[in-house]
């Protein structure tokens, strides 16, 4: 893969992170700078579900906070320059969380989303994170990842759509995320 000269790469990555900070998705402590890569722990707010036995009839409960690990490599923004992995518990047909006893963190934690694979000319971290939120809230049970947990989740979400679950758990509306400083970009307030 080709790479950009170091200074251009650094400027680009800094600008991307600046936007993430503005959206309150990361803070200074969650970013680690290395010589040829940057590691970011992202706090994502989206309506997902986790498996919880004995909680109710469905054995499931909603979860709003998620953790994602992002590694930006030197070949960013060319394809393959960025790695995502899912690091918190979730019950979802297209996301398989990292197994905590697994030694290689990047080995698991797969997210099945085309945007993450095909980094296009107009992609940036902000749109990618937004599309991750959309994926969490709109699971695609037709095309699950081939893990037991994901296949199980796929059959569950085929029976219960997100709209049904929202009624069951009495979640009326959901904020994606709010931009605090700019008044005109507040999303989803009904």
């Amino acid at each position: 893969m080709p790479e950009l000269p170091y200074e251009i790469w650094l400027k680009r990555v800094r600008n991307e992170i600046k936007i993430l900070k503005k959206l309150d998705l990361v803070d200074g402590r969650s970013i680690k700078w290395y010589k040829n890569s940057v590691e970011i722990w992202l706090k994502l707010k989206a309506l997902g579900f986790i498996k919880k036995f004995g909680n109710n009839n469905l054995n499931i409960s909603p979860k709003l906070d998620h953790r994602i690990f992002i590694k930006i490599n030197r070949s960013f923004p060319y394809p393959g320059g960025i790695d995502f992995s899912w690091h918190s518990e979730i019950y979802h047909p297209n996301i398989h969380p990292v197994e905590l006893n697994h030694s290689n963190y990047l080995g698991t934690g797969y997210i099945c989303l085309n945007v993450l694979r095909k980094w296009s000319k107009l992609s940036d971290l902000e749109t990618t994170v937004k599309s991750l939120q959309i994926l969490v809230e709109n699971p695609n049970p037709q095309d699950p990842l081939q893990y037991n947990l994901c296949v199980d989740a796929a059959s569950f979400f085929k029976k219960y759509s997100i709209e049904k679950l929202k009624k069951i758990f009495e979640i009326e509306s959901f904020h994606q995320y709010e931009v605090k400083k700019d008044d005109d970009i507040i999303i989803h307030k009904e």
Binding site: P5, Y78, P79, K118
Partner: protein, 296 residues
């Protein structure tokens, strides 16, 4: 006839200076500056068919120094279109080193420095030391990397491509602000193809698989046309650059190189077409000085 005995102001040129000077014929070109050519350093990336032509042309012109980058070994299939390789003693040797030895016979004063490494792993300071960078490559990845570094270090970059009867030459130079770079013209399809070659497992796919990569058909006639045009662009940039930096326009005797433009040669209809490339205002490489680079 001895010139000392002639008693008139007309300058008499000795026969030896006409036929004895190696570069006499090219010095007769208006605007030519042999000293500038002899002090120049050119980086040639790729020592394949086009690379052979370019190095040969530059060596015969009397260029100062050439960094020749290629990590490949010579195969029998290379011999049909490379002037400087020969059948008897160059098989299974490094292309760059064979060219260095062959050029000693052509012009012993030219310094050719072979670098038998991948383009990714070379010392990045080499880009700064060059007056012009030439790419004679067969893949987009290396071409883009050379484009990025050349643009960043403000070194003129001459790119070429060939495909059977077709060929193209494009020049990129960051001091001409409105001119496009190679990254500006990259499409989503190119990125996708690059990604597929790299693939999710990190392994390259089978190169014989036609869907991901194909071996490019080429003949020496096309490569020598394109290599000739490319090396002429190098000479034009070398001779005209000081005028461009000083007065803002290229030396009219030498002419303007193809900066921001692409010359396309169509060998089937015998046509040369020149198209202007569009500059992408959000380009990853050439918009890095803009304020909102990488953001919205």
């Amino acid at each position: 006839m001895d010139s000392k005995k002639v008693n008139n102001p007309i300058r008499v040129i000795r026969e030896s200076s006409i036929h004895g000077d190696r570069f006499d014929r090219q010095k007769r070109i208006m605007g030519w500056d042999q000293e500038r050519i002899s002090n120049a350093t050119v980086m040639v990336i790729g020592a394949g068919a086009t690379g052979n032509e370019v190095v040969k042309n530059l060596t015969l012109c009397g260029i100062g120094r050439v960094f020749l980058i290629d990590y490949d070994l010579i195969e029998s299939s290379n011999l049909s279109r490379c002037v400087l390789f020969n059948y008897t003693n160059s098989l299974k040797k490094y292309k760059a080193e064979v060219i260095k030895d062959a050029c000693k016979n052509l012009n012993p004063k030219v310094k050719i420095i072979p670098i038998t490494q991948d383009l990714n792993s070379i010392d990045k300071h080499l880009y700064k030391k060059c007056n012009v960078i030439c790419s004679c490559l067969d893949n987009l990845e290396a071409r883009l990397e050379a484009n990025n570094y050349a643009y960043y270090h403000a070194v003129p970059f001459v790119d070429s491509g060939i495909d059977e009867f077709f060929g193209s030459v494009q020049v990129v130079f960051s001091e001409d602000k409105d001119a496009a770079c190679l990254q500006c013209g990259i499409s989503e399809k190119d990125l996708e193809l690059m990604w597929r070659r790299f693939s999710c497992t990190g392994q390259e796919l089978d190169p014989t698989d036609a869907a991901t990569e194909r071996i490019i058909a080429s003949i020496i006639t096309t490569t020598s046309i394109i290599g000739g045009i490319q090396s002429q662009q190098v000479l034009k940039v070398l001779l005209g650059l000081s005028s461009f930096k000083e007065f803002g326009h290229w030396n009219p005797k030498i002419g303007e190189p193809l900066i921001g433009k692409q010359l396309i040669y169509n060998g089937i209809s015998n046509e040369f077409v020149i198209i202007s490339k569009l500059k992408d205002p959000k380009c990853w490489t050439c918009s890095f000085k803009s304020k909102n680079f990488g953001g919205k």
